[in-house]
């Protein structure tokens, strides 16, 4: 069945529909809980799987790719077998050069898998620092990140005992927030 709407009806539909939990998260910025950021990372990794795959292929082929999410932009580039990304606010003077880095291996498939995780982490950093405008005024601080990315064991171990990190990772449960992201 093909539904046809006039432009006015579409505007009405857009305004009447409730904002999803994911869309709300895009406005929270520094008011996101760490648990929410981690769940968002997992959510983006699964929901953007194909998109990240295309991005990874473009980056490996052309050496540069950019991505806009929330109110910011990430520019990824390859130099000396290393991928870095820089972050820029679309309506802000805040920016950060070479926020994170990962080293590329000789294996293309492995690189694509690692880059997908790197992109998802980059998206989370952008969402945290450059949220979509909301009715609440936001004080602009410098660019901030969790030093250990979610895709490393160092995050769960806080850079220390990796055995404890494995246990913590196994114990970490983000099902509740993930369900909210998938359904609401």
């Amino acid at each position: 069945m093909i539904l046809e709407y006039s432009e006015q009806q579409i505007v009405g539909l857009v305004h009447n529909r409730s904002v999803s939990y994911f869309e709300q998260c895009l406005t929270f910025g520094d008011r996101l809980l760490q648990e929410e950021r981690r769940a968002l990372y997992k959510y983006l990794l699964e929901s953007n799987k194909d998109f990240y795959k295309v991005q990874a292929k473009t980056l490996l082929a052309e050496g540069k790719v950019s991505r806009t999410i929330a109110n910011g932009q990430a520019i990824y580039s390859v130099k000396n077998s290393q991928v870095t990304y820089s972050a820029y606010g679309l309506q802000s003077e805040i920016f950060s050069i070479d926020v994170r880095q990962i080293r590329l291996s000789k294996f293309r498939l492995l690189n694509e898998i690692r880059l997908r995780k790197f992109f998802a982490q980059g998206d989370i950093d952008i969402i945290r620092n450059f949220p979509l405008p909301s009715r609440y005024l936001r004080e602009e601080n410098g660019f901030g990140i969790s030093v250990y990315p979610f895709y490393t064991l160092a995050y769960y171990a806080n850079g220390k005992n990796y055995l404890k990190g494995i246990i913590k990772k196994l114990k970490t449960n983000d099902k509740e927030i993930l369900t909210k992201l998938r359904t609401l």
Binding site: D30, R31, L33, S96, N141, G142, G144, S146, V147
Partner: protein
């Protein structure tokens, strides 16, 4: 009638240096070293950990109950960023228990004040109506612009009560 300078001062004075040029250069170097040490202050940084408090800002803007920890690092010279490991501990049966430890966090200095880095997004959910006493602490490194690091640490002092319990059932 104008008098020529060479007639008043002997010509030899202009052509023959009284102090060897090597000594002049040496003196200039000594002067530069002394002046640069006097003008450029020794880099110093301090960390300020505020007491963990119930966040009305998060209640108003997100309708969540949370205990917030504000941390600021400030130097007398511009900094690139600060990295801190922070925690909130509560007092339970006379014992200190860590209830919030967000891991290693990095915050770049603000564009308006490059000597300062402010952590304003450290908070943990809590249950309103459950009074608990908290203390906040942090330690880390300040990375200065132009290189060099300075270790910093601080805590919020004595345990103070807040009417919201982290991890309370």
């Amino acid at each position: 009638m104008p008098i020529k300078l060479s007639k008043i001062i002997p010509k030899a004075l202009f052509t023959t240096p009284k102090i060897p040029s090597v000594a002049v250069v040496g003196l200039m170097v000594v002067e530069y070293v002394i002046l640069s040490n006097v003008i450029a202050p020794e880099p110093k940084c301090t960390l300020n950990v505020e007491r963990p408090h119930y966040s009305t800002y998060l209640k108003e803007t997100r309708n969540i109950d949370a205990i917030k920890l504000n941390i600021t690092s400030e130097c007398n010279v511009p900094q690139d960023y600060t990295e801190v490991e922070s925690s909130i501990r509560k007092l339970e049966n006379g014992q200190q228990v860590v209830v919030y430890a967000p891991g290693l966090e990095r915050r770049e200095s603000s564009k308006s004040d490059p000597k300062k880095a402010e952590f304003r997004d450290l908070f943990a959910l809590c249950r309103l109506g459950k009074s608990m006493s908290y203390v906040g602490s942090a330690r880390g490194l300040v990375y200065l612009k132009g290189g060099g690091t300075i270790p910093v640490k601080d805590d919020s002092g004595i345990f103070r009560a807040a009417n919201c319990g982290i991890g309370a059932q």
